[in-house]
């Protein structure tokens, strides 16, 4: 119960500085018109990301929400150039990453890290926990074995792992411990920016909460910027400062957390939120569910991808052109042609529900 309150306190100052102090916040990452498609054998292409733009400030968490297959992981991998984006621009601390030569890219790697969705698969089964955490130190520092050992101890205690686990292999750990190893490895070189790809989705509820706490504490202590990928809205609400909603490879709404959760604009965001129960009483649940199926990512429809499922779609506009971003103030951007219609429709729904 009290969580909602502390949350608001934390996001409060950041929210209030939005107009006045904005120039003081350093942007760490700026993504513009990012596109990634995978060509298939038969000549067709899978659109995994189409034209996504957002940015991230130092020490900030951006929650990235979307259904399975909406391209969340692909965005994370593109940002770190683990796969090559098809087009667009990714500036990390002012350096353009797209087309950056391999050598320079490698030099930047320590500053941006990733926590993987497939926890266990991301750890080399033939390396011990100690070796895994040691690898970045070994590669990037000239420290002696002794100093590195101290550092490993320190890192492991940071993620609440007992040092006695250092000689074990990943398969001998629990899922939560494995994820902690992944986190320890990622923060070993004190990066600026971390992609957290559903860091808790493979875990049981207890380790789930533990990992979330560890992540939050680390951010407070070291000021990491997080791209927090998840389809768990409560977790996103818990950790993020801002939230971006993804639908079928497209960004459809992005804004401060409280904006998104309290006054969602896009029909799809409304639908998403209606499916979750929040502990925070200020977030009214919306009695609304989308019908129909998500179109295939191979043959994307013309116009808005939600057209066939949208209750407020406007014929002739929505099915011909993808909407341009609409600014609703406070950095809140929505990609929809019929915002007023959407607003009316959902307010009416809520009123009906409350009356009942």
């Amino acid at each position: 119960m009290s969580r909602g309150k502390t949350d608001r306190n934390k996001s409060g100052p950041l929210g209030s500085m939005s107009c006045l102090k904005e120039p003081l916040v350093t942007k760490i990452l700026e993504v513009e018109h990012l596109v990634k498609n995978f060509p298939l054998k038969d000549g067709q292409v899978v659109w995994a990301i189409s034209d996504v733009s957002f940015d991230l400030s130092e020490g900030e968490t951006l929650g990235l929400v979307g259904e399975s297959g909406s391209g969340k992981t692909t965005i994370g991998r593109c940002l770190l150039r683990l796969i090559e984006p098809t087009s667009g621009s990714i500036r990390f601390q002012g350096t353009e990453l797209v087309n950056l030569p391999k050598k320079d890219l490698r030099a930047i790697r320590p500053q941006m890290q990733m926590i993987f969705q497939e926890v266990f698969e991301s750890l080399n089964p033939r390396m011990t926990v100690g070796d895994i955490v040691d690898e970045p130190l070994k590669l990037w520092t000239n420290q002696t074995k002794g100093t590195r050992k101290e550092k490993i101890k320190q890192l492991m205690s940071l993620v609440e792992l007992d040092y006695s686990l250092a000689d074990l292999y990943p398969h001998q750990l629990t899922g939560g411990q494995q994820q902690c190893v992944g986190i320890a490895r990622a923060i070993a070189l004190n990066p600026k920016f971390l992609v957290l790809d559903e860091p808790t989705s493979a875990l049981d509820p207890t380790s789930h909460a533990e990992i979330m706490d560890v992540l939050k504490r680390l951010q407070e202590e070291f000021g990491f910027a997080y791209l927090f990928i998840s389809h768990d809205l409560t977790a996103v609400e818990h950790i993020s400062h801002r939230v971006a909603i993804l639908y079928l490879s497209k960004l459809i709404e992005i804004g401060r957390k409280d904006e998104i959760f309290r006054s969602p604009q896009h029909p799809y965001t409304n639908a998403l939120l209606s499916s979750v129960l929040f502990p925070d009483p200020n977030i009214t649940s919306r009695p609304f569910i989308l019908c129909g199926e998500i179109p295939s990512a191979v043959n994307l429809p013309k116009g808005c991808f939600l057209y066939k499922r949208c209750p407020v779609a406007v014929e002739g506009i929505c099915d011909t052109e993808f909407p341009k971003p609409r600014d609703c103030g406070h950095q809140h951007k929505v990609y929809c042609h019929n915002l007023d219609g959407s607003l009316n429709y959902f307010q009416k729904l809520i009123r009906e529900k409350v009356c009942k």
């Binding site: 790697r109 991301s122 033939r126 398969h171």
Partner: protein, 280 residues
């Protein structure tokens, strides 16, 4: 390593079959080392006073048509059979692993072509290829080893290649890139060790096949020549004999040969079980 050995022993202990394979493999390895010294008779000495004798307390497995003691010859044969098989298999494993890693790691036309050629060779009758090649390169033990070694390269190359394919796409390689490993370190430190495992797990099984191949070649007179004590050659001298009922001449070497192949096959399966990551 200690952990691995104790775990291996646990696995073997639990199954009668593995236990049997293990003991019998060890016996064949001992025979390989000191077989000729254990033999009651000189395996090459033909006693013209006692040929074609059926099994008795004097000659446990009987004597052959030139009066050589079959028991002595059967337990001396691992010396030559296993030596050839081991050396040939080592050639295959080394070259096969290298080619497997190369064709698995590089995605360009020549590595693709190399992979196709290797696949094609594997489809061909290896026995016939080996027979032809041995005859043409000159029949001696050294050529036998080289030829068998070369023609079994595709077995390992294929195993390693498909493993490299799987490993290079795995998430921990992506994580290693993220950590900032160089390409070279990724190949040699992260991909290679995981990819070679299927090759050396399969070593024991292929060893059995190679022993079969060696004795088949000797059986048609292309491998080891009589009177050297070798299972295939001994079976071959027994072919006319069995028509007149002297069954012991080919049967005993044949049984030993099959038992040896079987044991190494079982050991291979046990190794597979022991190394299986899902069991860890």
């Amino acid at each position: 390593m200690k952990l691995f050995l104790s775990m291996g022993w646990e696995t073997i202990k639990k199954s009668n079959l593995y236990m049997f394979g293990f003991i019998s493999s060890v016996i064949f390895l001992i025979l390989w080392a000191i077989g000729p010294y254990l033999a009651p008779y000189n395996p090459l000495y033909s006693d013209f006073d006692s040929f074609n004798l059926p099994p008795s307390s004097q000659h446990w497995f009987g004597t052959d048509q030139v009066g050589m003691d079959i028991f002595s010859r059967v337990i001396s044969a691992p010396r030559i059979d296993l030596t050839i098989a081991f050396l040939a298999n080592i050639i295959s494993v080394v070259i096969g692993s290298i080619l497997g890693v190369i064709t698995g790691y590089y995605k360009n036309w020549w590595s693709e072509a190399l992979a196709r050629i290797l696949d094609l060779i594997q489809v061909f009758p290896s026995f016939i290829l080996a027979m032809t090649a041995v005859v043409i390169s000159g029949q001696n033990i050294q050529n036998l080893i080289i030829v068998i070694g070369i023609f079994n390269v595709p077995i390992y190359a294929r195993l390693v290649r498909s493993k490299v394919y799987a490993v290079r796409e795995s998430k921990f390689i992506e994580a290693a890139i993220c950590t900032g490993n160089s390409d070279r370190r990724i190949l040699f430190f992260h991909i290679l060790p995981s990819s070679l495992q299927p090759a050396y797990i399969q070593f024991s099984v292929v060893l059995g096949w190679v022993i079969l191949l060696v004795s088949s070649l000797s059986f048609v007179g292309v491998g080891v020549r009589p009177p050297t004590a070798e299972w295939g050659a001994m079976i071959s001298t027994g072919v006319p004999q069995i028509l007149i009922g002297h069954w012991w001449i080919p049967i005993f070497p044949g049984l030993a040969l099959g038992l040896c192949v079987l044991s190494f096959g079982i050991m291979g399966e046990a190794l597979n079980k022991i190394m299986d990551p899902t069991r860890l």
